[in-house]
């Protein structure tokens, strides 16, 4: 079957000139983009996905240099077009959806202006342009577009902003839409909505889409074809089912096997791809994956692997063809090919009869929203928001509790309040039996040894001018651990987090994302704490690095009986690592219970929306668009009187709008706050 090819990338190679030398960021990239289909480019950070996308539009950084190849669009090679011809194509024929709608939309112009500017090439009246823009905003699901079109980006929520971004790129009816990580900045339920929206637009406007993502779920759910990139090369291409069910390249296999969402049975230890992406200033002459490949043979590093075609796709590996071919490769899908480090101690079972280490009871945190003068003038009688509302939870010794919720649900505030970094306005926090809420810092300081925080942004929270040695011993210095040899301590901690000792003299900017997290873990461990509050411990990490960090945390827990309070929105990960889960929505816990139960039989409709909101890395398990929950998390300023979830809840009834549902136990260890909970698994299918 021959399909129309809209765009064809042929032998594209590209270098970045840097003071470390030439970074060979793309090497011999070739793949076609078929008309009317959605192509996904997937790969770890630094594999060159974005660079491919930007080279299509000719919008590369100034130090980029294309050394070979062509990008054919119709009869033209985009790489040879002059600036004016390229400009005529940008926005009109090829348009872009950006990763972070917060930074990619100019803050000082209203959408009306930004959108009519995009239509500048059209000989339409301003009124017609406005009408076209309003129609497109309505199509992407912006409510009340006639007036909202005059809003500025900061007046929109994250989800609305990304919708507006999609509207801007679709305004001209482009043939080709490029999307770079279009949902990475969004929450789970928003991401699901965006995937549905983009598929719908493809069907309505017959647009071809190229989407870049490191999220395998998104790729499986959305794409028809997949390109797998590794370290600047295309290692495998193919139709989405072929890639997800029948991958042929060891790297593709490894990537799929490392995704926690694909691992059926719950396991504390996650598979990882050992090693790091190679140095692109001096790429290997043979297979680029050789130093991390489980199947690597001596010749792999020396001889370039053959390109083996199958269907419309191809894979580059010696196992598939030639003298090194291995007939038993690829093994059946259920065989694990990557290293699965199951060593370490067996996970300790948290003793359910032990008294809780941390007990939070009816905790409230209020923030003032405006000054008293302004509130009086504006007639606001209650200028406060409840960031945390009546939260109760406890963590037993050796237990992992995951606090799950979307942005703005108050997770981080709760974590900070527990650690006394933020004042509470009501309720109690007990640690080891002592009431610690609102303790003076001087009194609390000794407790900081027992409970510490691991911060969300590891590099940002590490002082750039301190060496790793200084960083990981800093808590010891602050807490005056006299008489201890700091160098020995530093080495002990580095060993604990499996950071090579030679790294102790490095500085934060010389660390990879995973290594920086390790330093964060080492700092948290320095004082031998009993409780660690980890805020998004793996956000922004590639799956395999994420696995390394989670494995490390599991080992440390088994060894030292640590308790974890993990704050995250990553549900697939939570399923593997958490003993218990608490789901937060708008500052309230709407459901909590043992992880297995909550996943298998969610009682609260919001829990179900979250569990189902995660796109499955399996193209056969795509959700119908109707399964996706509508709307967004409301602003704290507009907290509904009744159930906070009522406006979005598919099961909402009149009673839900009247008062906040109280917490109800369905089992001694499983609570929810819903008037009409989902009771049996059959409820799920009935309403889905």
């Amino acid at each position: 079957m021959t399909k129309d090819i809209l765009l064809n990338i042929e032998g594209l190679s590209l270098d970045f000139r840097t003071n470390r030398g030439r970074v060979k960021a793309l090497r011999d990239i070739s793949f076609p983009v078929q008309k009317g289909r959605i192509l996904g480019i997937v790969g770890e950070s630094g594999s060159g996905k974005s660079t491919v996308l930007w080279s299509i539009l000719g919008l590369l950084a100034g130090n980029a240099e294309v050394t070979a190849g062509r990008v054919d669009y119709g009869a033209r090679d985009l790489l040879t077009l002059d600036a004016q011809a390229l400009r005529a194509i940008r926005g009109e024929e090829i348009s872009v959806v950006f990763q972070d709608p917060m930074t990619s939309q100019i803050p000082v112009l209203p959408y009306a202006r930004q959108m009519s500017d995009i239509l500048y090439r059209r000989s339409m009246s301003e009124a017609d342009k406005r009408k076209a823009a309003i129609d497109m905003l309505r199509r992407v699901g912006i409510p009340d577009p006639d007036s909202r079109i005059d809003a500025y980006p900061h007046q929109f929520s994250g989800g609305m902003r990304q919708r507006a971004g999609i509207a801007m790129s679709m305004l001209t009816g482009p043939n080709l839409l490029l999307a770079d990580e279009p949902t990475t900045a969004l929450d789970v339920t928003m991401e699901a909505q965006m995937i549905g929206l983009m598929r719908g637009l493809r069907d309505d406007f017959d647009t071809t889409i190229v989407v870049v993502s490191h999220n395998l779920g998104l790729i499986a759910e959305m794409c028809d074809d997949v390109v797998v990139m590794y370290a600047g090369e295309v290692v495998e291409t193919g139709e989405v089912h072929e890639i997800f069910h029948n991958a042929r390249h060891p790297y593709t296999r490894a990537l799929l096997e490392c995704d926690p969402a694909r691992i059926a049975e719950v396991s504390r230890k996650l598979p990882v791809i050992p090693g790091d992406i190679p140095d692109l200033t001096r790429p290997l002459p043979g297979c680029i994956f050789a130093d991390r490949c489980q199947k690597a043979m001596p010749d792999c590093a020396k001889v370039a692997p053959p390109m083996v075609a199958r269907g419309g796709g191809m894979a580059r590996c010696h196992l598939l063809e030639g003298p090194l071919a291995d007939a038993s490769w690829p093994p059946p899908a259920d065989v694990v090919t990557v290293g699965r480090d199951l060593g370490g101690l067996a996970p300790v079972k948290a003793r359910s009869d032990a008294p809780p280490l941390l007990e939070v009871h009816d905790l409230n945190v209020r923030f003032r929203t405006m000054g008293p003068l302004k509130a009086r003038l504006n007639g606001v009688s209650d200028p406060f928001v409840d960031a945390v509302l009546d939260v109760s939870l406890d963590v037993k010794p050796g237990e992992t509790l995951a606090l799950v919720g979307e942005s703005g649900s108050g997770k981080t505030t709760l974590g900070r309040t527990i650690l006394n970094l933020q004042g509470a306005s009501g309720g109690t926090v007990r640690f080891d039996g002592r009431d610690i809420a609102g303790m003076a810092e001087g009194q609390f300081k000794p407790l900081r040894r027992d409970m510490t925080m691991m911060f969300q942004d590891p590099v940002g929270s590490l002082s750039p001018r301190k060496s790793v040695r200084a960083l990981i011993t800093e808590p010891l210095v602050i807490h005056g651990a006299q008489g201890r040899d700091l160098d020995t301590e530093a080495e002990r901690l580095a060993d604990m987090v499996r950071l090579p000792r030679s790294f102790l003299s490095r500085y934060p900017h010389e660390l990879s994302g995973g290594q920086a997290r390790r330093v964060g873990v080492a700092r948290a461990l320095a004082l031998n704490p009993r409780l660690i509050v980890a805020d998004e411990p793996t956000a922004g990490l590639d799956v395999s690095v994420q696995g390394e960090i989670l494995n490390l945390m599991a080992d440390l827990q088994a060894e030292h009986g640590l308790s974890y309070l993990i704050i995250t929105h990553n549900l697939p990960v939570v399923r593997h690592i958490a003993d218990r889960i608490a789901i937060m929505y708008l500052g309230r816990i709407v459901e909590d219970g043992p992880a297995a139960k909550v996943f298998a039989r969610p009682a609260h409709p919001y829990t179900r929306a979250l569990v189902e909101g995660v796109p499955q890395p399996d193209p056969d398990r795509r959700r119908p668009p109707t399964a996706v929950i509508e709307g967004e998390v409301p602003s704290l300023l507009r907290r509904p009187k009744g159930c906070d979830f009522a406006a979005r809840c598919p099961l909402a009834q009149d009673a839900c709008h009247a008062a906040k549902p109280r917490h109800t136990h369905i089992a001694p260890d499983h609570r929810h706050a819903c008037l009409f909970p989902l009771r049996t698994p059959s409820d799920l299918t009935e309403t889905a």
Binding site: L59, V96, T103, S104, I106, P107, V108, P110, D117, L377
Partner: protein, 314 residues
């Protein structure tokens, strides 16, 4: 927005009162009888008594300040010691010359500096960028009174292109303008360099923002991207800088007025200081402070108008 304005005006009033207090105490901190200070040692006892009564110098200090404040609020800044004319009308006569000078000085600096900075930022490393860079540093480094003196020596005394002193014949606009050129040139020159550098830095930063890449990815023309998008954001910090810069400009204007013998407020204050004509000094400094506060307030309002994020946070 309304609360914001209220707050800002309240703050401005506070600053003005503080300045008044300072001016008032200045008079009282100078040792000796203020009346003698004002009228000179050879003034007759009657004149001193009359002056003291008129200026309420016989009352307690606090009462004096209340009088002073009350008068100032009613627009009465006292009388010129020599001519007995109201200070306000003396200032009224001269303020036009100062405003014209300051506004022209800043005006041409903005008109030249901002585009230069823009051009330099659009082509970093080009000859224009380098020339602008070198000149900017030079222009900033030379103090404005030196520029005034050189300009006077060169353009009027040496080349006879422009008049040297005074403000021109009243009523003759062309003559007045020709008298404005040199002092305005002198006080604005440093600002050309300053603004060019500021706009360049701010533009370079904005040009690297993702939303500029978005605009280019949508295919907008380069001119639109630079002027309609990048400059629209980059100009915001520059506006604050210009607002604050008026403070420095006022003192440059004093020097320029002295050097070019322009009958403005600056020259007036200078003369009054040497004559110990304190009501005039007080009035002049007060007007200058008020002007500065007004400009800063206006620049903040302008930013609020141009930046919707600021607007909605007010």
């Amino acid at each position: 927005m309304f609360t914001y304005l209220l707050k800002r005006l309240g703050l401005a009033a506070l600053v003005v009162v503080a300045v008044l207090l300072l001016l008032f105490s200045m008079l009282h901190m100078i040792p000796g009888n203020p009346a003698i200070l004002a009228l000179g040692t050879r003034a007759s006892p009657e004149a001193i008594a009359e002056y003291s009564a008129r200026m309420h110098l016989d009352k307690p200090v606090l009462t004096q300040f209340v009088y002073f404040l009350g008068n100032a609020v009613q627009g009465d800044l006292g009388q010129d010691v020599f001519s007995n004319r109201a200070v306000t009308s003396v200032i009224g006569e001269r303020i036009g010359f100062s405003l014209a000078l300051i506004c022209t000085g800043m005006g041409w600096a903005v008109l030249l500096g901002v585009p230069l900075g823009c051009l330099a930022a659009v082509r970093p490393g080009s000859w224009l960028d380098r020339v602008t860079g070198v000149f900017s540093v030079g222009m900033i480094a030379v103090p404005s009174f030196l520029v005034s003196i050189w300009a006077l020596l060169f353009f009027s005394l040496e080349l006879h292109w422009l008049p040297a002193i005074g403000a021109g014949e009243p009523g003759d606009l062309a003559d007045q303008l020709s008298h404005l050129v040199l002092p305005a040139f002198a006080i604005g020159l440093g600002w050309v360099g300053y603004l060019a550098r500021m706009v360049r830095a701010s533009m370079l930063e904005v040009m690297g923002e993702p939303y500029i890449r978005s605009a280019r990815a949508y295919g907008l023309q380069p001119r639109r991207v630079v002027l309609g998008y990048a400059l629209r954001v980059a100009i915001l910090p520059t506006i604050t800088l210009i607002g604050m810069g008026f403070g420095g400009l006022i003192s440059s204007a004093v020097f320029a007025e002295i050097i070019f013998s322009r009958p403005g407020v600056g020259k007036m204050i200078f003369d009054a200081v040497s004559d110990r004509n304190f009501p005039i000094v007080q009035g002049g400094v007060l007007v200058a402070t008020g002007f500065y506060i007004l400009v800063v307030l206006l620049s903040d309002l302008l930013i609020a108008w141009l930046d919707p994020r600021v607007r909605s946070s007010l």
